[in-house]
Symmetry: C2
Subunit: 958 residues, 2 copies
Amino acid sequence: MPSKTAKKAKPTKKSAPPKKAKAKPAKAVATVTRRAVTRIEPALGIPLPKKQADIPGFKERESFPIPKQGDKLIYFFCDGKAEGAGKMKDLLGGKGAGLAEMTNSGVPVPPGFTITTDACFLFYRTNMVMPRWFEEDMRKFMGRLEKATGMGFGDRKNPLLVSVRSGAKFSMPGMMDTILNLGLNDETVQGLIEKTENDRFAYDSYRRFIQMYGNVVLGIDKGEFEHRLEERKKKQRIKLDTELTVNDLKNIIQKYKDLIQDKTGESFPQDPFEQLRQARDAVFKSWNNPRAITYRQLHDIPSNLGTAVNIQAMVFGNMGETSATGVGFTRNPSTGKKEFYGEYLTNAQGEDVVAGIRTPKHISHLAKEMPKVYKQLKEITERLEKHYRDVQDFEFTIQEGRLYLLQTRTGKRTTAAAVKIAVDMVGEGLIKKNEALMRVEPAQLDQLLHPQIDPKAEVHIIAHGLAASPGAASGMAVFTAEDAVRFAEAGKAVILVRQETNPDDISGMNAAQGILTSRGGMTSHAAVVARGMGKCCVAGVEDIRVYEVDKKMIAGSHVVKEGDIITLNGSTGEVMLGKVDTIPPVLSGEFATFMKWADEVRRLRVRTNADTPQDAHQAVVFGAEGIGLCRTEHMFFAPDRIPIVQEMILASDEVARRDALDRLLPFQKDDFKGIFEAMDGRPVTIRTIDPPLHEFLPDKKQIEQEIEELKEKDAWEDEIKAKEKILDRIEDLKEFNPMLGHRGCRLGVTFPEITEMQARAIFIAACEVARGKKAKPPVVEVMIPLVGHVNELKNQREIVVRVAEEVMKKYKVEIQYMVGTMIEVPRGAITADEVAGEAEFFSFGTNDLTQMTFGFSRDDAAKFLRPYLTKGILEKDPFVTLDTKGVGQLITMAIERGRGARADLKVGICGEHGGDPASIHFCNAVGMNYVSASPFRVPIARLAAAQAVLGKTEYTQK
Amino acid sequence: MPSKTAKKAKPTKKSAPPKKAKAKPAKAVATVTRRAVTRIEPALGIPLPKKQADIPGFKERESFPIPKQGDKLIYFFCDGKAEGAGKMKDLLGGKGAGLAEMTNSGVPVPPGFTITTDACFLFYRTNMVMPRWFEEDMRKFMGRLEKATGMGFGDRKNPLLVSVRSGAKFSMPGMMDTILNLGLNDETVQGLIEKTENDRFAYDSYRRFIQMYGNVVLGIDKGEFEHRLEERKKKQRIKLDTELTVNDLKNIIQKYKDLIQDKTGESFPQDPFEQLRQARDAVFKSWNNPRAITYRQLHDIPSNLGTAVNIQAMVFGNMGETSATGVGFTRNPSTGKKEFYGEYLTNAQGEDVVAGIRTPKHISHLAKEMPKVYKQLKEITERLEKHYRDVQDFEFTIQEGRLYLLQTRTGKRTTAAAVKIAVDMVGEGLIKKNEALMRVEPAQLDQLLHPQIDPKAEVHIIAHGLAASPGAASGMAVFTAEDAVRFAEAGKAVILVRQETNPDDISGMNAAQGILTSRGGMTSHAAVVARGMGKCCVAGVEDIRVYEVDKKMIAGSHVVKEGDIITLNGSTGEVMLGKVDTIPPVLSGEFATFMKWADEVRRLRVRTNADTPQDAHQAVVFGAEGIGLCRTEHMFFAPDRIPIVQEMILASDEVARRDALDRLLPFQKDDFKGIFEAMDGRPVTIRTIDPPLHEFLPDKKQIEQEIEELKEKDAWEDEIKAKEKILDRIEDLKEFNPMLGHRGCRLGVTFPEITEMQARAIFIAACEVARGKKAKPPVVEVMIPLVGHVNELKNQREIVVRVAEEVMKKYKVEIQYMVGTMIEVPRGAITADEVAGEAEFFSFGTNDLTQMTFGFSRDDAAKFLRPYLTKGILEKDPFVTLDTKGVGQLITMAIERGRGARADLKVGICGEHGGDPASIHFCNAVGMNYVSASPFRVPIARLAAAQAVLGKTEYTQK
């Protein structure tokens, strides 16, 4: 009986190829859909765009001429000859171009025609009613298709049935379900019975067609159809759809028709052309359905491209034992191994595979069952792989011994497979090294570096948040940093659960396996620090409530208390109950080869943001060539130091402050020594103190409580007074907008002794390492943060240089060092010519620069950033991908002006964007010397930097 | 007996001329000093610059060649012939140039010489030790002076005594006290006795000289000398210095010498040249004493100018009845009236005037006593006035019938006098109108517009703060906005005292006569709003503690409780106990004439920032040509509206929100009608809602307390729940950095219905006014705040335009309107070309633009801004005067790009800088169309705009 491939599984394959291979498609579909919905459900009751005018980006196309009569808007393909070509993706969409190319290269493809994206544009420009002349055009093409197939569209005896599929330039699983068997009606169903000699199949196909049409084209809830089907099954006391008789099906068909009449006020269209027109328009409209919009946002696809519509004759794999249907890959998409990979079912249609009633056979069986067809299939797909020079993911149907390829496309693959395939193909001479480098999405490399949830594991998901830092982790939930440290020291694996984290929590985060927060975005403290530590993190899980004092969290009906085991998947944002098995990362030989190639190509140097010797070491393993940002203040939070830091802050005068600083010095020095040794002669950029001092003081409420307790205990007056002093200082240091407050070099200017101590620690450490034998002499770059005026830098630079010279003289060692600044305040960028007079290097702190250029506090932006993305006011989250138009102009200006004043100015980036591939392209284009990324993003940065040189285009689809 | 004029009164005359006229100099001196000290005493224990390298700006001069032997570094003047000239202020300082000019124009001036500012530079470049060749040079000049006077420096018989005075390019009262009678020693004092025949005078002069020298040159505390003087007086049981006998004086002289020996380890130098060298170096060093640095900062004087040193022969007004000493003005400096004004004493020295023992005589008496000298003095000073074309402030001494002018300079005057004199001088043909316009500091006009502390009043100052909004006010202290309203309604004059104010306090501020805050700077909420309201405000009084809950404040030992009367002087920042009399402002006919001239000259339009019809009306009276910023949200705080606003914020969905908004609409409409009517056809720029929503909700603690109370009262569950809902929402809306949070157009984008309501209110109001007869049809400019991306504006613009068209159609009225934006986010400026595509006007919100460009939160900046100014990292407070180098570049860029995209783009400024004269010059230079200032700054802006056209130079000294 006739059929087509597993259409329902489509979205799966496009979005999550490795899982597909594991045959868990239904679940994956659900995940994608659910997440999409989460993303677009506006928190503040904002309606989704409904009118064309609201469609982000669509108006840009307004300047294009509107297609008119006589323009070619439809392209035919049939029997080795297509009007279109593979390169016409803009016009024909990915699918249409693929069909044209396959047809032209002699691949047996069912004939059909493609309605272009220009036609889609015409549709939107003519108020969603296609002009008459277009309808006539389309009829002519249908005539050609009838002629090619020898069948008639709507012919009672020999009906031509077609599939209708959307097809944009880039594959968009979220867009529209395919409609199959279009052309069936009360009359043509009889023709199908005659042709297949299977009335049950024919009626079931008709039923399915009406359901699909009703749902996809007419927008009637799928549940309404399912409900009627279930009712019938209940009545007949049967469980499986396959148990339905022809009579049952006829009854259901009538119910379906009634439903349509009821919901739309019109009857189900019997005219095949009416069906076709409506289906086509539904495809056009699907370009702007919420899922499609969300998908585009998630995948950076412009919204003004429009979609093409593919109309193709149906072929049937269920016309007897010489018919079959299947899917395959030219290589294993999960491992990358070179093997013909796939599965099929004889005398079957796609649904049968999905329904899981019959177990599909491995493709190798086909060699025995239909050796000629198998040979042809292998030959064609191998040819396709060579032709497209990449792994092909294909669908085929064999109709009475004749092979049809229904689709072929670049096969999605796991990152591990992508790397192996790329390296193998270079070995096979199929592609060049440079091309291989383009075959892997840099961001995907992350997958290889962190432990992952075992895809075979059973999971119980209780909440979803932002996939803030990849990897997976299980452990007992704890709700304070102290508990995290305590339990970790007792040998427990812990997950730190907080509303949000702050620098106080660093030790706890360090002790934890993973971090879960209910507030904050992708660049929240938790997210940034976790990525820096290479620790798994799920952030901003808005559907849980965290009660830190009560040590519990509530997710829906689940209460997770301290000690309960939970698992995080930082790559998907899932929070799971219990322990879920993970698999450790293994870096293959191909990975090493691949990264070596990337290093050969790239121009940008890649450094890392690391605050500890451990991080530094990890980053070197991942290929870091230096440290671009070492945040000294993180060192202040260690338990043996924080009391001294607090003493310093509470000091009433410079003498007392210096006394505390003197005691901090040995700690800082040791930290720097460790880092210098780990970096073994690679340059290390150390930033002087940056955060506002209040971050080093305990929580106000805690102190208040302590005072209460002391008072109750009748403690010594002095003890209480000491606490009250802290409280006073906390009050003193309170700021309305700490982001724009007393921090960065402003601290160094008002408390020069802090800068002095830090400089001393840095240079003593450097001298000691240089004199020791453990590592190559350090190369030091001292970086002054938050400079907006050259005088700030001048002031701080003088201190650093004075101390450096003094220490080097004392140690009789010459250390290679520079003093430079972070450019993170707009004014610093604008006056870069002046600033460069005092700076030997610039490092763009794009986190803060983005905050100040947009006037967005990243800790508070979630509330409006989400609607901004939904409404298309912003195309991308500027904290994830650099805003090249705004922030980027400041960067360009700063580099030009800076190098104008100092030709050899070294320029880098140390904001989060330094690990973002798109932003790295920008950094390469504007002539930076290096990017700096957290250790686990170093490989990503290396690859992105290589791709930037190779001129990777903005949008890539694998 | 010989003497000189009232030297001790010097600083007074320079800083506060009108008071001097009232003969209360000592007090004024104290005030200046005290204030200077307050300013520089660093809050955080920051040491003042001690080394040359730390001197702000001084290094800039490094590129100048260092003077070398043979260069002319000393300029002689004597008997109608000076080597220097009046225009050589850079080199000779103001005083030295004046002496040269006077000498050259035949004014009888005691001969002497001026050591140039180049020599000062040399001094700093040679490690503060003048080279030998210079010392030799100086000896030669002293030789010339000896020759000119016929006396010998150190000559026992006929000793030449000199005065040593600093003299920078700009008068700097804070710099150094003058040293008189230098050249006296144990021997020459005998010569003086012989010459004056007054041994008591001679010894007293010697005593004073040692004291001055010890204090000013050797840095010994003045108190140490006074102490020894007092001891002697005690011992002799006398009260007045004048009662000291020659013996007493000799005894004291010995004690002084011992003191010097004791403190410095060296004896008081008997060598006159040693005295001279040391005094000269002390003058050089005084350029960088804290008072001088502070004075420069306060008066925008660059720190790299250096000072000259003037050495001039002493003349004596106490050599008998034909000798005298006095001071005078060519016109009355207090009223501006044209009258020869001054006072003198015969046979007296300056000290006698100050000591108040003898009452000085009015200058007119001199006509009788010494008619020839009087005539000569009048003639010379009239000539000087004509020569300098401005009022002269002169000092003279008559030595045995011979007149010497010791100094003449432009006379300081009150603003009222300045205006009258300028207008009169035009009438007299002395100066041109344009020149007259340059004779008044725009900022000083403020003095004329507010009530002022009666200068005759006795005051008890308890604290000093920032002079945040000028004028004076007395009233009972209240500590909450509610109390302010309550007592004001009961007819009390109140002063609202707060730690800081927020929009919640608006009603209270409105009800108060003046506002006092312990926190916040010149652009804090309190300061800005107070200036806007034209209300007196003293802000950031750090030495008081405000206890809002306890309703009291503590200033030193004073506790001010609710109800206690205090007085504020918003023009000086003084806080006084009790009620102090004030005098109301009276605007003279000269003022009107003067402002008319300004209007004829200026190119910039001047608008006002006004939120109420009252403010709008006041501004029109002051000459406003439109409203540049009408903040709609201030209207939300009125007691009848705030509950509805809160309802809107608490609404759980759009429907509920719209319902609340519908009820707000009539209020907003009425507000706008009032403003449109007050402006009578002048353009009105209305800004849509800007502040974060949490500002409209009550204080968290208050709600928590209310809940507690309700629980205790066993109130209804629902009542408690309603409060808890508010609490939840407050928690929801809490932001880390509200400045960069969910506000401005971000609110309008997420809640389009708010923008819609506001647009509706605006246009209904406009239509109703247009149809009415009360005022000319309104010209409306709707301004969208905080735009960083063109799409934000586009989104909001569409709403405004849609509503406008709809309303106008309904009312059948055509309103002239525009939609534009505030440029206050750096990204808005950078992408101004794009933004201008959607904006018909730009208005620079320079408050926020400065905050974001610098990354300074103005509410938190005090902590580092003060040290920044002290350390010379910033020259000026960027919140007061526009930072042209940084923020200014963004503005220039935005105007260029904006006009590039839209040639007729209207451009203005509505930040606080719109009322700052220096910033107005910038606005004029970059081609803005208008500036907008608070009502009381409108006249200032008008004058500054005129001066900008006339090309006023950056620094002016009156």
